[in-house]
Amino acid sequence: MTLEISRTFVDAILEQSRAEYPDECCGVILGPLGADKALRHKPMVNAAHSPTFYEFDPKDLLSLYREVDDADEEIVVIYHSHTETEAYPSRTDIAYASEPGAHYVLVSTRKEIAPATEFRSYRIIDGIVTEEPVTILD
């Protein structure tokens, strides 16, 4: 599997992660059901407001799933930022990953690599992490 994603979304996610620093930022990209196409970016609030944890607000989560169902969409990408560590799923990321069909995107804006950033994508299924290539579409 490869994640194909437009540069506009990559830039927007990196911008969001800088804006919400030092807290982790999070969000989703939606697309038509069954198509595996990341077409509609939806930043979410990190209800944990934490540099080491993120959680979609439970009320926002319900609205999101209702919206996705009503529009015959699916959650194609679930992303969040790591602000001090590399863009690799943490133990808690793996423990709570519950969308086997989604691309889990991690971005890192940690100081050591600035001004460079990392943007990586994974499948997380039954506790197994598999990194996948990312193709950025201009």
């Binding site: 944990a48 944890f53 979609f56 989560l61 799933y65 808690t92 709570y96 519950s98 969308e99 086997p100």
Partner: protein, 90 residues
């Protein structure tokens, strides 16, 4: 008495891939007991030491049960229950 329970993708292997199942019970706890009797293993995924798991959200109609009565929340005929795992991590 009929209550609709919406099952998230991750738990559909327990429900033969059904997105919604029918259940009965007059409290959330009773509904969970009922769905576990129909689809063995579901309760274990929802509960830990007799309480709802921290990273499982359960809604009755539009309300998070944590702001209602938790497992003791009264359920009425026609209510819709939605189960959603938290989207969370570190």
């Amino acid at each position: 008495m009929s209550i609709e329970v919406r099952i998230p993708t991750i738990l559909r292997p327990y429900t033969k891939d059904q997105k919604t199942i029918e259940a009965s019970g007059d409290t959330l706890a009773a509904v969970i007991t009922d769905i576990d009797s129909q689809y063995a293993g579901l309760a274990e995924r929802l509960l830990e030491n007799g309480a709802l798991r921290r990273f499982i959200n359960v809604y009755i109609n539009d309300e998070d049960v944590r702001f209602l009565g938790g497992l003791e929340t009264q359920i009425k005929d026609g209510d819709s229950i939605t189960i959603l795992p938290a989207v969370a991590g570190g």
